[in-house]
């Protein structure tokens, strides 16, 4: 079945540094979703990317969908302590297939 590989599994950064997580699929995706889960919280939908090569921004977060629609990335500029959490990508399938997540720690 559909799988998405997410790297890295963990990332520790100093506050103010940038952070990127990558999501890769062996098959072409019709779209990809990103979720954020704060420690002790629940996954929260961030965004959905649909078009090949699409780039969307939400404040310091930049989401990209690859030209071949097989990979995606989430980049955070100048991380803050509020960015701490686990970021999941999710591929469209029935059910939705979640990556294993990237756990981000931000050191103040």
């Amino acid at each position: 079945g559909q799988q998405v590989m997410q790297i890295p599994q963990y990332q520790h950064v100093q506050e103010g540094e940038d952070f990127t997580t990558y999501c890769n699929s062996s098959t072409t995706l019709s779209n990809i979703q990103w979720y954020k889960q704060r420690p002790g919280g629940h996954p929260v939908f961030l965004i959905q990317l649909v078009k090949s090569g699409e780039v969307k921004k939400q404040k310091r977060l930049t989401f990209q969908f690859g030209e071949a629609k097989k990979n995606s990335s989430l980049h955070i500029t100048a991380t803050q302590t509020t960015d701490v959490g686990t970021y999941f990508c999710a591929a469209p399938s029935t059910p939705l297939v979640f990556g294993k997540g990237t756990r981000l720690s931000v050191i103040a």
Partner: protein
């Protein structure tokens, strides 16, 4: 006006007991899900219901029995709890059963088996 609400938030119980978790959504969605999240944060789908009909039943022990009395509710009953059942269980909902619809999650039920 919580969108997806689960009860209880915490559940501590002994091995062998039977327990239930309830979930309700007020988003008007027609599809609801149960996920299990282990200590490594992996989100694993357990069940999905669309308009009260079971559409996804992943490889889950038959000690777990979901029930959807209507499309706004999805409950999970667990018989003969085992140590390995300790996890966070999330309920979620979406409009439409096909993949690609954003899902809205409840706050989770933290189940601890003693």
């Amino acid at each position: 006006d919580t969108a997806v609400s689960q009860t209880p938030k915490y559940l501590v119980t002994q091995m062998g007991n039977d327990k239930s978790i309830k979930c309700e959504q007020n988003l008007g969605h027609d599809t609801m899900y149960w996920y299990k999240q282990d200590s490594k944060k992996f989100l694993k789908i357990m069940f999905s219901y669309n308009n009260k009909e079971l559409i996804i039943n992943e490889t889950v022990p038959n000690r777990f029995s979901p029930k959807s009395p209507d499309k706004a509710h999805l409950n999970l009953h667990i018989n003969s709890l085992e140590l390995g059942d300790s996890a966070v269980y999330f309920c979620a909902s979406s409009q439409g059963a096909q993949g690609g619809k954003p899902q809205h999650f409840g706050d989770g039920t933290r189940l601890s088996i003693l």
